[in-house]
Amino acid sequence: MKKLKKLLTSKFFITIVWVVMLIAVWELFAFHVENIKRTPENVQPHLSGIVDSLTSDRKINGSQTALQMVIENAKATLTRAGIGYIIGIASGFLLALFMSLSKIVEKTSFPYLMLIQLIPILGMAPIINAITGDIAKSRIIIAAILTFYPVATNTLAGFKSVQREKHELMYSYAANKFQIYTKTMIPACIPYFFTGLKISAPMAITASILVDTLQGGIGLGCLLSQSLKGAMTRYVFWDIVFFSAVIGILSFYIMGIIEIMMCPYRRTGKR
């Protein structure tokens, strides 16, 4: 009985239940849609159809299969998202550092940072495109902007979480500013920093795909809108939806794994 309870509450089991339930609900609707629509793949195809489209070696644009196309375009999108992500992390961390070093910087910039979050990406994208004059650059910049906010706020929260006693301890050692930051502040904010990274990783990818749809070229979003407009089979659209969902979730977990590798003290021993 106890074993059963343990199994029922284990994380693995819960995940499996969720996945099975989602598949069941999806298929239920797919059957329903199949009965009332002439082109069910436009609304909700069967999962088997989506898998088929990925595994079939039918060339859809003359030279590539669906899977090859998705992967090629994903490479471009993920590269842009990755560059934007890294720029966003660096600038977010630096701003948090400046805000913690200077009250003036914090007072003048922190309340207005939130505004960045309020502007819709699709509204911001054309403006940035107009400024940079290059869609590829603006895609990177948008990913950076979206990464920037969660990283900056969480890192600042991390700096502020340092106990007063730790500051007093460093003071009693007559430590200089540099030592205070390298020995106390930055190590203490690492878990918070990673919270920011975990929040913004899927966001950077989503934003990248979304901004891709604005103009042509190579990228998941471009491919996605072509498929939606009927330039190729609708299954490519579904392939991209699932592919990007998986990548988004993976990016979150990859950050989690890096965090655990960097913070051994968080995983050892009893709480």
């Binding site: 006693e165 007093e168 301890l169 050692y173 030592q179 020995k183 003290y265 021993g269």
Partner: protein
């Protein structure tokens, strides 16, 4: 030429500040009397949020000798922590003078004469026990090998050599506090400032740590200033108890504890101990 020399002779004593003279005299007294910390009329007035002035401490005058174990005892609001923080240079008194080994608290801090132990162990949870103790030595740019050796020595002193590579969260509260003490001693300061270090521990652990602390004190000969609100604790540990009373915070009595040393737990059952406890208790005013 003669004229200039004569002029100097006449004007020099006048130009000297009287305070400066006082300082020089007290410094000389320091050397002679073995006084580590001199508090002269120390007072602290805060501005509260609604603009009123709040007196945290009024005119505390006392001397603390080298190697002495002093308790600052009192209820909350009596200014005992304020007094400790003044000595530690964390806050500046609004009146009076403090001399630590003949210099100001700030100079004493810059010379790293203090070790601080807080109510919570305040360990760095991303550092192992040994790395925690090495932290102050890293700040003073102590070479790596020497750093490790000294930290191990300190760890040995508090009896935790086997736990060098553990992380703080793997230790019990009492062990964590002992690591905190080892870290405070790592820079070999003359003075150990302890702010209610055992108040968060259970009674059994606390009693054990009392005995351990006295052993460490005897081995290292530090001057210890120990803030507490526990009467038994202060009687068991101290040479002298500074009884502080609130509203406004002031020094209401200094009580000598002439119990023999080394002290063991058994001393708590003697009539002398009980008599001292009640003597301390009766010396509070306005609680």
């Amino acid at each position: 030429m003669i004229f200039i020399v004569l002029f100097c002779f006449i004007s020099f004593p006048e130009q000297r500040n009287i305070n400066e003279l006082k300082g020089t005299i007290s410094m000389i007294e320091h050397e002679r009397n073995d006084i580590e910390i001199m508090l002269d009329n120390v007072g602290m007035v805060y501005d509260s949020a609604d603009g009123k002035e709040v007196t945290a401490l009024t005119s505390v005058t006392m001397d603390i000798h080298k190697g002495e174990f002093i308790s600052l005892l009192g209820p909350s609001g009596c200014g005992k922590t304020t007094l400790l923080r003044i000595i530690a240079d964390l806050i500046h008194p609004t009146s009076g003078n403090v001399l630590i080994g003949g210099v100001s608290p700030k100079d004493a801090r810059l010379k790293r004469r203090y070790g601080m132990v807080f109510q919570s162990a305040t360990l760095y949870d991303w550092r192992t026990v040994i790395k925690n103790i090495e932290l102050p030595l890293e700040i003073t740019h102590c070479p790596k090998k020497e750093r490790h050796e000294r930290a191990m020595k300190m760890l040995d002193l508090v009896g935790l050599s086997d736990f060098a590579d553990h992380y703080p969260r793997q230790l019990s509260g009492g062990m964590q506090q002992r690591v905190g003490i080892a870290r405070a001693l790592a820079l070999q300061p003359e003075i150990l400032l302890m702010d209610e270090p055992f108040s968060a521990l259970d009674e059994f652990t606390r009693e054990k740590l009392h005995v351990d602390l006295l052993k460490i004190w005897r081995k290292t000969n530090k001057t210890i200033i120990f803030v507490t609100h526990n009467i038994q604790e202060s009687v068991f540990l101290s040479d002298r108890i500074c009884v502080l009373s609130p509203h406004p915070g002031r020094l209401s009595a200094i009580i000598d504890v002439d119990l023999p040393r080394p002290r063991t737990m058994d001393i708590k059952d003697t009539p002398e101990f009980t008599a001292l406890v009640s003597k301390v208790r009766n010396s509070f005013e306005g609680v």
